[in-house]
């Protein structure tokens, strides 16, 4: 009886089902999203290529740190040179800071000189939540076999000050270099930093 009541009380306290956190070293969750041009893009469609996922919010000062300084564009260009697929994902909900429609996203990519393979729109936040993307930026790297090999921040200087970029370790570039050399990613996780992803209130 006591056990039963304990279980009962515990049951009453446990909240909504746990979010499935993606695990580094396990297959990256597949997804299907529309890009800025209205095309359907799936992660599994890039099997055989290394894929970088970048969560973004153009209004977030931490994102602006890396776009305003050109750091994100340089990282994207370096990835593109090695044939790495770069998917920029905006999980901002309509009406929230940084939400973009397709044409707005296209204009943003053109004006900022960004080099993503595709700019994906996730206004309902489903893909963001399936990756447990918390901040902008929040970076993920998926290897050619479809395994998640990196999750975390763009670098190791969690500030909004562009001056810190020079002395920071770019975790994504480092991971891509290691993958290219056939090595394991030496820093597979780090703490992401930035603004909260502006998800729709559920």
């Amino acid at each position: 009886m006591k056990q039963m009541l304990n279980a009962f009380a515990a049951l009453a306290i446990i909240a909504a089902p746990a979010s499935a956190t993606p695990v580094v070293g396990k297959p990256a969750p597949d997804f299907k999203l529309t890009d800025a041009n209205g095309r359907i893009v799936t992660l599994s469609g890039f099997r055989g290529k290394t894929v970088v996922l970048e969560w973004t919010n153009p209004g977030c000062p931490f994102v602006r740190k890396h776009y305003g300084s050109g750091n994100m564009q340089r990282t994207q260009a370096a990835a593109a040179k090695d044939g790495v697929v770069w998917l920029t994902i905006n999980s901002g909900a309509p009406g929230k800071q940084g939400y973009m429609s397709g044409p707005e996203a296209k204009a943003f990519v053109a004006q900022s000189g960004a080099r993503p393979t595709a700019y994906l729109l996730d206004p309902r936040g489903n893909v963001g939540k399936s990756y447990d993307a918390k901040t902008t930026p929040h970076m993920f790297v998926v290897n050619k076999a479809g395994t998640l090999v990196y999750a975390g921040g763009i670098d190791d200087k969690p500030t909004a000050n562009p001056a810190d970029i020079k002395s920071a370790r770019n975790h994504v570039l480092a991971a891509l270099t290691e993958l290219k050399a056939g090595k394991a990613v030496s820093v597979p996780t780090s703490r992401p930093y930035g603004c909260a992803v502006k998800y729709a209130e559920s």
């Binding site: 009886m1 006591k2 039963m4 009541l5 304990n6 009962f8 009380a9 515990a10 049951l11 009453a12 306290i13 446990i14 909240a15 909504a16 746990a18 979010s19 956190t21 695990v23 580094v24 153009p58 209004g59 977030c60 000062p61 931490f62 602006r64 776009y67 305003g68 909900a93 929230k96 800071q97 940084g98 943003f108 004006q111 900022s112 936040g125 939540k129 918390k134 901040t135 999750a151 969690p158 500030t159 909004a160 000050n161 996780t189 703490r191 992401p192 930093y193 930035g194 603004c195 909260a196 992803v197 502006k198 998800y199 729709a200 209130e201 559920s202």
Partner: protein, 673 residues
Amino acid sequence: MLLGTAAHCQLPEPGKRAIAVSLIPEMSVVAPGETVALALMMRPAPGWHGYWKNPGDSGMETQIAWDLPAGLAAGPIRYPLPGRLIVAGLMNYVYERDYALLVDVKVPATLPAGTKLPIRARVDYLACTKELCVPETANVAVDLETGAATVAQTKRAMFDPFRQALPQPLGSEARFERIGSRFRMAIPVPADLTLREPYFYPLTDGVVPYAAPQIFSRAGDTLIVETEALSNGSGFGVVDGVLKLNEGTSVTLRATPGTVPAGGKPVKLAIQHSASGASAMLPALLGAVLGGLLLNIMPCVFPILSLKALSLAKASGDESAAKKEAIAYTAGAVLICLALGAALLALRAGGTAAGWAFQLQDPRIILLLLLLITAVALNLAGLFELPAVTLGGRLAERRGLAGAFWTGALAAFVATPCTGPFMGAALGAALVLPAPAALAIFAGLGLGLALPFLLLGFVPALRRRLPKAGAWMEQFRRLISVPMFLTALALAWILGRQAGVDGMALGLTAAMVLGLALWWVGRSQGRGAAWVPLAPAVLIALEVMLLLPVAAAGSAQAPLQGALKTEPFSEGRLAALQQEGRPVFAYFTADWCVTCKVNERGALQRQQVAKAFAARQVAVLVGDWTRGDPAIGRFLEKHGRSGVPLYLYYAPGKPAEILPQVLTPSRLVSMLS
């Protein structure tokens, strides 16, 4: 263009900050070799918040780049206890009101008096609303000078509340373990400390998901926190964090890997977050609805349902009337269940006011449940019948909405005593759960009870498919009595654990007397005054409740105000007693400090100690640091301690003797000579 996209109207006005920052020293004249506390005052504009050291799922820790005169050194930032802010499922550890970050600056002893000390700092911090974030930078400055500092010049009245908002060091080490996807931690917290809203704020990142609910339970002097573990996070050597105990009380702690005992008694949280609170109720509510649904096949309810179904089937054609009747029936069932729940809660409130602790620790509650469950089991086994079914049957024959409403009400009412384990659980839950949750469970039971009839009202085809009432129901009812008897057995065992063999024997006697009385009731049922034999049985049960040795359960809360005479500590009182030439024993304790409580129970409150102290007229001063009294904090610091316990003995005319942190009665007695 990039900078333009976020230019919303909520942004702070140009030239104004979202969080105003200023640097205030506790004293502007500092003696060389001393430490001065600086407060970085942070004042968020309405709607804005700043971040704790661990910002949570997003955000940024505040960073201070000091520009100090040579020789000066600034310590780490000391953060007050933050609050929690969940935005779209992401946890933020924040300050939504003015807060002060404290930093200690050490002035070298080599500096001559009159040296000017310009303190400069660049502060980088993040200010956010629920919608957007602005990183801000503030350059702050203050000028200090070396010299003879006087207490009068210090801003103690201003700084004391700042210090009080800081968590205090717990002093004892916690342990944590990871089992599968669960993270569990055992924290030493005295059993008799009341916890209203505990929460563990992790400082070590990557161990637990911040937004996951934390479940607290207690086993003796151990508080157990359980939450999800991050799948990526393993192999941590230590987990640091701050435990909020109650409003205004928090402690810093460090946990190392180790085994965590199985959960004890759950800690009832006053209010969960509104968002998660609502979803937390869902499983319990679903369980209650399911339980209510099962009530329908209980023999004392089913006849009502079948009668109503039959009458609906006969009166086929008028569909809207059938629907209305179904809704009225549902309303009746739900309302009566709610009323029963409310009555129970009112009883509970009355009992609490009378000093009854409505916890399963109280053997009287266990006895009450034992007798109730025994009666229910005997009823299910067929020893006696409850008269309500016939009454319900009569009313069920009435037509119209009022008739339907009262049928629903009666179905719920007659269902109450013969409901099997479900109602037992609901009753228990009503006794121990917070009121809204308990009421929701009762409403769920009512809804579940009414569900089949609701379906019959809206889906006419179902009316002819209803299984026929018959002997199978009686069989089922007898069968249900088995788990009920087992429940009663378990309750008797718990009673034995709590109140000893005598208590259990008393409880079983009460159950037997009740059983005999009910047997008698059953035998004479059908004749008048059948319920009379129950009266003496109830009286005996009440008497047993009064006789039951409650002390057995209360022993964990042994009275702390034992034979030792104490008075509250103050430096003034200490000085006065010393002037009188009296020996003084001063001890510093906190309600959340296990070592302190163990020493108090095991040594300080012993008779031999009290006698020895009384013989030598030792004055005993107690400093209670539970809520972080800054005056006591300063006194502790003076004695080289950052926390409690601290035991000091002042023999007349001698400097203080610091006693070990673990006391024994003999050590206390020998200290006097």
